[in-house]
Amino acid sequence: MASPMRIRAASKDGVTEVRVLMSHPMETGQRKDSSGNPIPAHHITELSAKHNDKVVLSAQFGPSVSTNPYLAFKFKGGASGDKLVVSWVDNKGESRTDEVQVS
């Protein structure tokens, strides 16, 4: 079970700013461990953010994204109290979904 994300969403003047901090090793597959064996790739592949039920951001992540990725974006609309859901899936099929209320 993956660790929770920390999500903040704040609406101001009709624009909502979303900041997401994900907990993920984001292993590239290029590294070797101390005994010389390759460490298998393990990274997020897809991410989506929904405002209520509408997708406002959909992204493809790859091995070049850092460990514990941080993502910030803005979208038009959104009001205090709305639901914002962020979910990701990684290349091992693990996933995580967290939601917050827009403040």
């Binding site: 920390r6 900041r19 901090l21 850092s66 514990n68």
Partner: protein, 266 residues
């Protein structure tokens, strides 16, 4: 960034790429730190630490909610800013890590030896780091206020000062070799002059921190261990007197400065 790219292109085009002196501006990590502070991944450790604080664990199956960090049982708010401090119940000066070890041993029955003999970022020692992240976050922005009045604190401060200037190891280095003068740096990292109150506060008040380059969260014990390692001398025992003495020296020197916890580092 853009300016630098343009400058690099111009430099290459004119084939007159003169070795430019590194300016203080280029070495300024503060701007980068500000950009990162918003999404400091130390928060992930803090979340884990908060959960650990409230989870019943160990042979006694207890939480840490009754842990006394100096301001009374269970008081976390502002506690880290006043540590290290003298604790009458143990009769010792303790830093945050060693105090958490005491709480884990007395409340939860987890022997301190598991932490002391463990490895950084693993097992019980790793759990302590997460707990540290949780506790220090509740002192973020507070002034460092270490009470040096107790004789044991004075003793530790004096020992810390001595350790700070004590040269040892293959390089015959002391802490002061790198941290005793203004304007020193290692590669591109500016080194604080810990003999001044301002820089002592900057140093003490910016660890524990998340290191972006290796995606690791380091407590002050971990950071001090690394200083000894870089000094090429014997590595200190986790939470041993010398590490706490150095902490008392730094925190005491930095009294009044602001704690920015948890920090974020290159």
């Amino acid at each position: 960034m853009r300016q630098k790219t343009i400058a690099a292109v111009l430099g290459a085009a004119s084939v007159l790429a003169t070795a430019t002196a590194v300016t203080a501006q280029d070495l300024n990590f503060d701007e980068y730190r500000q950009m990162l502070a918003d999404g400091n991944p130390a928060e992930l450790f803090e979340m884990e630490g908060e959960e650990l604080w409230r989870t019943a664990r160990g042979p006694k199956n207890a939480t840490l909610e009754q842990c006394d960090l100096g301001l009374g049982p269970g008081v976390v708010e502002g506690a880290a800013a006043q540590m290290p401090r003298y604790f009458a119940d143990t009769g010792k000066v303790q830093d945050l890590e060693s105090r958490l070890m005491t709480c884990m041993e007395t409340l939860q029955g987890i022997p301190s030896a598991e932490v002391i003999n463990g490895k950084f970022r693993q097992g019980e020692r790793g759990k302590i780091a997460s707990l540290v992240a949780y506790v220090v976050t509740h002192s973020n922005g507070k002034p460092i206020a270490v009470d040096l009045s107790h004789p044991k604190m004075k003793e530790m401060y004096a020992m810390g000062e001595k350790a700070f200037f004590y040269r040892a190891g293959a390089m015959d280095f002391s802490c002061a070799s790198c941290h005793g003068e203004d304007g020193k740096r290692i590669r591109a990292t500016s080194l604080p002059n810990i003999t001044t109150a301002k820089c002592a506060a900057e140093g003490w008040g910016s660890w524990p921190a998340y290191r972006v380059s290796n995606s690791q969260f380091w407590t002050m014990q971990h950071r001090l261990w690394d200083c000894f390692r870089q000094q090429r001398t014997a590595e200190p025992i986790f939470a041993s007197d010398v590490t706490i003495a150095l902490s008392v020296f730094m925190a005491g020197k930095g009294n009044g400065g602001q704690a920015v916890w948890p920090g974020v580092k290159r």
